[in-house]
Each structure stands twice: as C-alpha cells, then as structure tokens.
Amino acid sequence: MLTATNVTKRYGKTTVLDGASLSIAPGSVTAVIGANGAGKSTLIKSVIGLIRFEGSITINGADVAKEPKRAREMVGYVPQDPAFHSDLTVGETARFYATLRRLPAERAHAAVETAGLAGHVGKKAGALSGGMRQRLALAIAQLSDPPVLVLDEPAAGLDVSARLDLRRLVSEQRAAGKAILLSTHWLEDVPYVADHALVLDQGKTVYSGPATGLAASGAAGSKLFLRLNGHSPEAVTLLERMPMAGAIARTGDWVVVNCAATDKAHVVEALVAAGIGILDFRVEEASVDAAVMHLQSVRGGLS
C-alpha cells in the first residue's frame, strides 16, 4: 500500500508540487497525468525519497522521509530516462543492482531473461537503445519482486508496439497484486492501464478520482476523422443516435466525431456493422493541456 498525504515541494518561493495526495492499494494502478512541469516527476521522486518534501508518504507502513532505505526495499523504480553505468554489460548491471539488494546472481539472470534481454547480456549498457534501456530498468525494478512499482513516464519514447507491451506488463503486475504508480502524458493510455488518475497542473491537483471518471468527464476525449464511402449523411444520422458520440461535424468528405478515448473502437464497429465502409481514418487525441483546461473549466463551473 502506497499512501501520500498533502505532499508539497518548494524551491525557495516557488511551489512545484502543492498538496498532492493519493492512496494506491495492492492490485491497483494510479496514473499521474500532467504536462511538462506539472509536478509529476517531483511527486514520483518524492515517493522514492530522492528529494525532500513536506507532507507524508508511506510505503507498506514505512515512512519515506524517516526510513527511506526500508521504504525503497519495497519499491521498484523506473526513471523517466533510465541511465546505467555505460561500461558495465547488461548482465553486470543487473548483478550489481541485485547485489545492492542482497539478492543472488541467479535472480539478476532471471530478471534479464524475463525482460527479453537474454540475447544482450554481454552488451555494454552504454550501447543499448532507448527501448532496451527501458527494459533493463524494468528488469532491475522487478529484481526483488517489490510490492510497489513506480514508473516515471514509462511510455515516453516507446513505439506503439512497445507501448502495448508496457500496457500488458502493467496489467500483469496489477494482476499479481502490485500497487503501481505511473506518470504519463499519454491521456489515451490512462483508461486502459489505470484504475485511478491524478491530474496535476503547475503542481496543483485538478482531478483525483477514477480513471473512468476522467474519460467520462470528456477530458480524455478523442477526435475521430472518418472518410466514408459516400455514406456520410447516413453515418451522421447513425452517430447522432449513439450516446457515446459527442459533437459530430462534416468537413468535405470527412466526418469528424468527438468521443471518449475508450469509445473510438465502438464508433468504428457501429459504422461497419451498419454497412458503412470506411475508406480512411485518423485519430487526434486530446492533449494534456486541453484536458487540464477542460477539467479546470468543469471545476470552475461547479464552484
């Protein structure tokens, strides 16, 4: 169980994280979302104990500020841009970190194999690609099979296939009972990987609640551009009857549909089922900035 209460970080008079709170139970995932400079990495580094902070963070009862070493025994951490000693090989790197955690060398070997790096054991860490470094970082984070995983922007720099692998890995770890905290600026990933979402803007929390709630709020919306096979009027009529479809517009040959990120496939399925062929399509996901503005306007409207 990971609990953060009123975590605040100031640099002089500048507050970069302002009273963030979260609670992650075993077997659940919380995504921290925000644009660059929103305070995501500050929150993550606070959880790991890499920076000093105000407030309280506990990991399975261990206070991060008072017992950082004990707290870190229960955490596996993947930094935003994993860096390793470039002169060590993949195998040596894994063994080095396994030794630091007082684990046998076999564990290091197994973690490297699980991460799909068995064929690169003798390769220098400095020669690894970004994706491979990410996998090595994941292997090291899971060396001791810790109950808590903290992933800082794990999807950054990954291609679509690697992002899908990451989704699968997070899902597997959640099923294995891990409490997972991850930061991302990929809004569309959130409903698929996270149970809860914490949206930060300039250090302040603008949303904290279920990830599905974030999608439902319209913040994590998608714009679906569809070029149909001469059936635009029928398509618009059909889409207008679908509760999941938001604003619909026609631009030349294209029909533009606003919907939640998780409903894109349903829209396409409905069109195909109605016999409306799709000649071409593209998707425009909502940016984090747009989502934050949306959430702030909703909050402003409520207050």
Binding site: L50, I51, R52, R72, E73, A83, F84
Partner: protein, 273 residues
Amino acid sequence: MNAVMTIARKELRDAVASGWLVVFAATFAVVAMILSHVQADSGGIGEQGFNRTTAGLINLCLLLVPLLALVLGAGAIAGERDRGTLATLLSQPVTPVQVLIGKYIGLTLAVWGAIAAGFGIAGLFMMLFSPLSDIGHYLLFVVLSGVLASAMLSLGILVSVFAGSRVKALGLAVVLWFVLVLAYDLGAIGFALAVSPSGRTLVAVALLNPAEATRLLAIMSIERDLDVLGPLGAYLTDRMGTGVSRSLLLTAILAWTAAPLAIAARGFSRQDV
C-alpha cells in the same frame, strides 16, 4: 556483500578501467628511474643516494598524488549526477552516506594501489643502484603518500558533492590543487611570514594544508637537522619536540581526511537528486 562494499568494488573497478591510475603509476616509475639513473651517474650511490632519490620521489608525490586524488574524488558524485545514474543508484535500498563511503573506499584502494605500484616499480629499479639498507624510509614515504591521497580524495569528494556538474567539480579540484600544492608556499606561508613571522604561526599555517603537513612529516623523517626549514624547523624540534610535532602533523592530515568526508556526507544526505 553489503551495499558499501558493493559500491566500493564497483568504484575500484571503474578507477582501474579509467586508465588514470596506470598513467600515474607509469609516470611515477619512469621519473623514479630517471632520478635513480641521474643519481648513479653523479656518483651518489649507497644509502645517501637512496635517500636523495627518495626525497626526489616525495616531491614528485606531493605534486602528483594530490592532483590524482582530487580529480578522482571530484568525479565521484558529480559524474554519477551528470550521467543520470545517481537516481537509479539512490532508488535502491541504500543511503546517500553508504554510496559516499563506498565510493571513498573504492577510490582510496585504487589510489593506494597506484601509489604502491609506482613506488614498487621505482623501488625495484632503485635497488639496481643502491643497497636495501634504507627500505624503512622508503616504505614510510609510501605510507605518507597513501595518507595524503586519502585526505585529498576526501576533499575531492567534498567538491564533487557541492559542485553543480562534473566539469565544475573538476575545475574546482584543479584550482584546489593549484592553491594547496603550488601556490601555498608563496601565498599562505608568505602572508604568515609577513604578518607574524613566528614558528608558531608557520606551524598553524602548515596544519591548514594536508600537502604541507605531509611535506613536513617527510622532511622530518629524512633530515636529522631541521635547520633547512628555518624558524619552522626550530619551533618543531626545539619548542614542540619531534614526537609531538609528528603526532600533530599526522593528526592534522587525518582531520583533513575525516572532516571533508563528514561534511560531504551530511550535505549529500540533504541534497535532492
């Protein structure tokens, strides 16, 4: 193996792999060979010749060991920070103090090894020209060089913790080396002589610099008569006594080892990564 020794072993491996230590040992050995050769050519063989060559080596040590140790120490933490590996390291169940001590131990062993290798090769070569009668002094200089290296590594690590980047840390280390090794005689000692030209002031000034304290210890062990040091020598032998002087100088070097390391550990523990 605990975390400190794991980090120490990694640091030792890195230091050896960097090639700096090999360059140091080779330079030291080559200069020693040249000194021995010159000594033999000038007819200075026997115990006296061994001593003169050794005195030449000590001067070389006082020049090179601080530079090597300060530079290696300066890169220890700042280098990890620049490469981004510090966050990965400190996200493990280790404390910043364990990381710092592990690095210090690893670097100390590496520099001691280089000093032993340099003196070892030089000693073997010198034995070709001189008898083994004064091996005690020679070993004492090896130990003094090691002690000086420990103090300078400590200062280097202090610089490493508080410098913003590796480049800044290395720059500061070189400035520190220049001040402590090259400019100290002219600057601090000259200033002390101008302000209060007493043996007591000069002893105080010597205690403020581990390289100077090491130089005095080396001279005290090699020279029977400390007149060569002027009022400082007279104060050390006549007023304080050789035994007390040696203890005081050694204590100063050890304090220069412990204090910067303690300040670095405290500062490092309070820093954000």
